[in-house]
């Protein structure tokens, strides 16, 4: 393995991690406020379809992203209605939304473009370009650091930078602001928040809305950021579930979420680059690498690597009278 191999793997790690990180942070907001959300997958898929379609219609990727955000907000609204207002089962609602998104996206794309559930190829202004960080060209000649700067740090879509900047921002919001304190409290002990005269319902809807926006960014990254060129049926390919796995791995903390996502990202990047990996003379099939995030999550959940305990009021609808 040469240094350039490492650079290439790190580069694709960042690219693979971007939608995962956005979705993982989305789940973090929702679950920290006490709303389980297994529909991250569906929301990403919906945003991927809508943002790609509207980027194509309008010729502007930002308008596409806006449409994607509106679509995921609608899906989240249904989830909120079921989970917060009508105190329904959040898991069942999530399952339903995943189904809804997987059907609706293909139907919409088919109705609009008639290409069997995909959007036409996006080009030019319809896509998020790769951004070049300052001096990337000049520095790239420097040994070791140059390629790292030019390929791994630079050369990604704006959504990648937003995703990684969202990590410190989320930390700050959760642990250093009044809103964050209340949001965490509403996932741990909603009755106490209610007693303090703060609306549990409003806080939970706010968290669900943030979750929607982040999922929309994740979906847009998948479908409209170079080198992606449009929406394809079921293109999220279980990333929503991997993001959920990463969230548990991170024990619902922002910085850890980033490390967990990068870990899963590098595993996948390595699996893509080396179809069969040999460790100590044993050939490891690619399918095992695919399953690894899930296996790791189960091990974490089993408590062998430290116990993952979610927010205490997670998944439980809040009833005022109780």
């Amino acid at each position: 393995m040469t240094y350039m191999d490492i650079i290439l793997i790190l580069e694709s790690m960042i690219r693979i991690s971007t939608p995962l990180l956005l979705a993982c942070l989305a789940g973090l907001y929702s679950e920290r406020a006490g709303i389980f959300d297994i529909s991250l997958e569906g929301k990403m898929l919906m945003s991927a379809c809508i943002s790609a379609s509207f980027a194509y219609f309008t010729g502007n990727v930002w308008l596409g992203l806006g449409a994607g955000i509106i679509a995921t907000l609608l899906l989240s609204g249904i989830h909120g209605l079921a989970a917060i207002t009508f105190r329904g089962n959040q898991l069942i609602s999530g399952v339903a939304l995943n189904f809804l998104a997987s059907g609706m996206t293909v139907m919409l794309a088919n109705a609009w473009f008639g290409q069997g559930g995909r959007t036409p190829q996006l080009s030019g202004e319809m896509r998020f370009p790769r951004l070049t960080l300052p001096f990337a060209d000049q520095i790239s000649e420097i040994a070791y650091f140059g390629p790292f700067y030019a390929r791994v740090l630079s050369n990604h879509s704006i959504l990648t930078y937003i995703a990684f900047l969202a990590v410190p921002f989320t930390w700050w919001l959760l642990y250093r602001t009044r809103f964050g304190l209340r949001m965490r409290a509403v996932g741990e002990n909603p009755a106490a928040v209610d007693t303090a005269g703060i609306s549990v319902v409003k806080l939970r809807y706010a968290a669900v809305a943030i979750c929607a926006v982040l999922c929309a960014l994740a979906g847009a990254q998948l479908a409209t950021a170079v080198p992606a060129a449009g929406f394809v049926k079921d293109m999220t390919a279980n990333r929503g579930y991997i993001a959920l796995a990463a969230l548990i791995f991170a024990k619902w903390r922002p910085w850890h979420a980033m490390w967990a996502v990068l870990l899963f990202g590098i595993l996948q990047a390595a699996a893509i680059r080396y179809q069969a990996i040999e460790i100590f003379g044993t050939r490891i099939p690619g399918q095992f690498m695919d399953a690894l995030p899930y296996i790791l999550t189960v091990i974490i959940l089993a408590g062998f690597v430290g116990k993952a305990i979610g927010p205490r009021a997670g998944g439980v609808p809040y009833v005022k009278e109780r």
Binding site: I38, F86, V95, L97, F99, G103, Y241, Y294, I295, G303
Partner: protein, 371 residues
Amino acid sequence: MEKMPKWADVVLIPLISLILAAIISGLVILALGSNPIAALQVMLNGALGSQYNFGNTIYYATNFIFTGLAVAVAAHAGLFNIGGEGQAMLGGLGVAIVCLMIPFPHWSLALVCSIVGAAAAGAAWAFVPAYLQAKRGSHIVITTIMFNQMAFALLNYLLVGPLKSPGGMEPASASFPATTHLPSFHDMLAPFGIAFSRGAMANFSFVIAIIAAAAVWVLIWHTRLGYEMRSLGKSEPAAKYAGINPFRIIMITMAISGGLAGMMALNNVQGEAERLILGAVEGAGFIGIAVALMGRNHPVGIVLAALLFGVLYQGGMSLSQDQTLRIPRELVVVIQALVILFTGALDTMVRTPLERLFISLRGGRSAKAAE
């Protein structure tokens, strides 16, 4: 005092939820530029209009009975088994191993062994989530989701590798020998002088599904184990106080639940495809959740709800093949999603106004009686 009569809970609420889902589906069809009434006609005709169509409806219903029962058994013990999908995939593996490895002289023997194989494999796939829930308190929903993903990876590995049929292009096992093939409805009904459509997919597994439903009914309401399961589901502290061992009950319940989900493979793998194909489960594990919800976790309700979803599924297939309406197959997925949403997650939305209605009706009557 009960807020509502039982029939309202069992019949009226699912019916209203269903109507709401139908109305929204109708709006979706309108938005696609087609006529919802015509679509409904095509669907019903496509599901029930001929022996062939009806036979396929029964085939899909059989899948959903198994996965619905799996969800319901777990639900009675307070467990939400969302892993039916993975357990059914593994059930397929169990069936494939049994059918490919053992040379059976007759299908009936093959069936007995494949029931054991399917149930054991499904139960085995539920074992780790069950153990983690019982011993470590890990959320069973998350672990079963993870196991669904792992099941897919495992099958993907086996079907492009060790189990792949030699010379075949797609990820699938070799075809099972003819002596393992289950009789179709055509074969079953022929001795009675009934000429059932030859091509329909319904097969002997439907009988097994009905027997399984009856067995679940006996288990839940007429055995000590069923009593213990229900006690645990109602209140864990109370169950413990009554001397019930939660660990034991959780393990047994999940084994039964996983076994039932695994037995779905009798229908789709052994009965229909007659070989193991990647993606053979087609989301039936998740639909089982909706089926159990609509059927109120009662075997009779589950069989009826499974038939309804069978109609939806087969009707939807016909709908997507209809040349004049031009509605894509994915509409079925959307309709299923809406049914799950309204019957499962938005249950309270329907229930609360109905409860108020019944209370006000009863209040009016008792006020009159007092005069």
